[in-house]
């Protein structure tokens, strides 16, 4: 294999610490979750019939989420993000998590905050990702806090790199070639490798596939078996669900299987990729869900300002108050939603502007 390993000229311009890089390059490669062979084995072992997979989030999370797993998080930044599932994971608790996602805001900030409040209940060991922030709302304060204090191990890819890694996982492949990362410092710090293409003899960058232990996605509509439709941005949800060895899915709406069979082309996630289905309206709130509701900007601003206050002062009181009231003080995500006035949710539905979706 070594005779195929190449590199770009990044070392000529890189400003990274040479000793740290040397240590990194000596470390043997490992998948931060199931290997492709292990992921296949878990798929093979599952019963393959159409079964009613509807359950509660409490049961789904209790069954699949354990300490030490690789958790793949769906959605993209503030869009169709699986917030309801994150709330339940925080209620249950999970330590030494590896998080895998392309770009996210509140899902990962909520997990980071839970870790800051009680690392014996929720903790993040390492993160493979492309981007962690709030976009127009600002940088992610809790991410910056964890990184500045050296509390989590990071592995950086581009948004395509992470998406392609899930895609490779979904394809049953050990890696996938990409046309990015090479010539950037990501080539030096992440777990991909530059090789000589056996066909063109040119350099091409390989990223390892990702098969998370548990993938979490929120979808536009699904039947009780887990056949799911996505409208607006697909993000990387189909690839993530297919790559993950277990997938927990919340859906805005359960639709009849007759409808799925009428428009099979609209199914973006097929049922064998799904292990638990939970109907959870507003399951991405305060994120947006195309055809249903838009972002709740003030809610993002509120949680972000509480987080930033902690980062600047070290005072955890308001952060703790938020979790006690909205997560630990709630039995279900519906209880959390009940803390929002009806008019607020109605306004978010109006702000979606009636994006057309097919759910009949």
């Amino acid at each position: 294999m070594d005779k195929f390993i190449r590199s770009s000229d990044i070392r000529k311009i890189s400003n990274l610490d040479h000793d740290e890089l040397a240590k990194k390059s000596e470390a043997p490669f490992e998948y931060w979750g199931p290997t492709p062979a292990e992921a296949r084995k878990r798929a093979v072992a599952k019963p393959k019939g159409l079964h009613d997979k509807q359950t509660t989030l409490k049961d789904a999370v209790a069954k699949h989420v354990r300490d030490g797993i690789n958790l793949g998080i769906g959605g993209f930044v503030n869009t169709r993000v699986p917030i309801a599932i994150i709330h339940e994971i925080i209620r249950k608790g999970a330590k030494d998590l590896t998080l895998s996602f392309q770009s996210n805001s509140m899902c990962v900030e909520l997990l980071a905050g839970a870790m800051i409040l009680d690392p014996n209940h929720v903790s993040i060991k390492r993160v493979e990702m492309a981007w962690w922030g709030y976009e127009v709302i600002g940088i992610a304060p809790l991410f910056r806090y964890l990184i500045s204090n050296g509390m989590i191990h990071l592995d950086d890819y581009t948004n395509y790199g992470m998406s392609a890694r899930f895609k490779a996982g979904a394809m049953g492949l050990p890696f996938i070639p990409t046309r990015d990362h090479g010539g950037s410092d990501m080539e030096l710090v992440n777990r991909g490798k530059m090789i000589e293409c056996p066909f063109t003899k040119e350099n091409v960058y390989l990223v390892p596939s990702s098969n998370p232990d548990v993938g979490i996605v929120h979808v536009s509509a699904a039947d009780k078996h887990g056949n799911a439709r996505l409208f607006g941005a697909h993000c990387t949800c189909p690839e993530l669900a297919l790559a993950s060895t277990y997938t927990i899915m919340t859906t805005e709406k359960i639709i009849p299987t007759d409808s799925i069979r009428r428009y099979p082309n609209l199914t973006e996630i097929p049922y064998p990729a799904v292990d638990a289905v939970v109907e959870q309206p507003f399951g991405a709130y305060p994120g947006a869900c195309y055809g249903y509701y838009w972002f709740d900007m003030p809610e993002f601003l509120n949680f972000r300002s509480i987080s930033d206050e902690f980062r600047k002062t070290g005072n955890k009181d308001k952060l703790k108050e938020y979790y006690d009231k909205y997560i630990f003080g709630c039995e279900t995500f519906d209880d959390f939603l009940s803390t929002r006035p009806y008019n607020k949710l109605k306004e978010l539905r109006q702000k979606d502007g009636g994006q057309p979706i097919i759910i009949d």
């Binding site: 990044i10 311009i13 400003n15 610490d17 740290e20 869009t79 500045s148 950037s184």
Partner: protein, 261 residues
């Protein structure tokens, strides 16, 4: 001439750089605003691609606040996910990357990962590559929007997130395995830069009326090449400002921000 703010100048200049009959891969904020302005003026057949998976949308619900905003999918001709957006790019269908960053060097390499400390324990960590690294690699030409400050235009950036011309050697990008031709323009509110074909070094092309090349060099840590054909930046007219302020970003989400000192 009407008075305008720094972000209005950047958006207007970004619009000027975009040609009609092209596809632009936009990041959040000013790139979307510049592209909308171009569509409304000289480039009606310019189409935008958003990394969450939208292509060719008609932004009739107003300015998307993020590249994953549901508004960015309105009346698109193609709506998938991240893989589709970046694979269209890898395949060669996307002309411009429109990105930003915290630091840039003379060869157009850009940092959006961190400043200070080491990668393993950073002083100030930024969100990360997001789409930028992939856009700079595989869109045909990269346009960067930067704040013109000495601490941002530097000799050595802390981390190379978005590949430019690397060390300036002719085959840096080929050895990196990327497909696009690389840095094309760097836009600031006081100057526009391009890159010299021979040396691949940053070259000053345009300055704000009233400024000189020496004024711009003062704000840049490395030595700039100066175009023999140095021009003044065109300023936005009343109609441009009306479009920016009343049609594109009436809430002032991006155009009314304060310049961070």
């Amino acid at each position: 001439m009407a008075e305008y703010g720094p972000f209005e100048m950047i958006a207007f200049t970004g619009s000027r750089v975009l040609e009609d009959e092209t596809i632009v891969f936009v990041g959040t904020g000013l790139p979307i605003i510049a592209s909308m302005h171009a569509q409304l003026t000289h480039a009606p057949n310019l189409n935008m691609i958003f990394e969450a998976g939208s292509f060719g949308a008609i932004l009739e619900q107003g300015l998307p606040l993020s590249v994953g905003d549901t508004k960015a999918f309105r009346k698109a001709v193609y709506a998938k996910g991240l893989c589709a957006a970046f694979e269209l790019t890898q395949r060669g269908h996307v002309d411009y990357a429109f990105i930003g960053g915290a630091q840039i060097d003379m060869y157009g390499n850009i940092n959006s990962h961190f400043e200070g400390g080491t990668y393993w324990k950073t002083k100030t960590r930024f969100p990360g590559s997001g789409g930028a690294g992939a856009m700079a690699a595989n869109c045909e030409k990269t346009i960067a929007i930067m704040a013109l400050e000495k601490r941002r235009f530097v000799n050595k950036i802390d981390f190379v997130t978005s590949i430019g011309f690397g060390d300036g050697s002719a085959d840096y990008r080929r050895k990196a395995g990327v497909m696009g031709s690389g840095p094309y323009r760097v836009i600031t509110n006081q100057a526009v830069f391009g890159f010299d074909e021979e040396t691949r070094r940053m070259m000053l092309l345009e300055v704000l009326p009233g400024k000189t090349a020496a004024d711009i060099q003062e704000l840049v840590s490395f030595e700039l090449l100066i175009s023999p054909d140095l021009r003044e930046m065109k300023e936005p007219g009343d109609e441009d400002l009306r479009l920016l302020r009343e049609v594109i970003d009436p809430e002032g989400y991006f155009l009314k921000r304060k310049v961070v000192k």
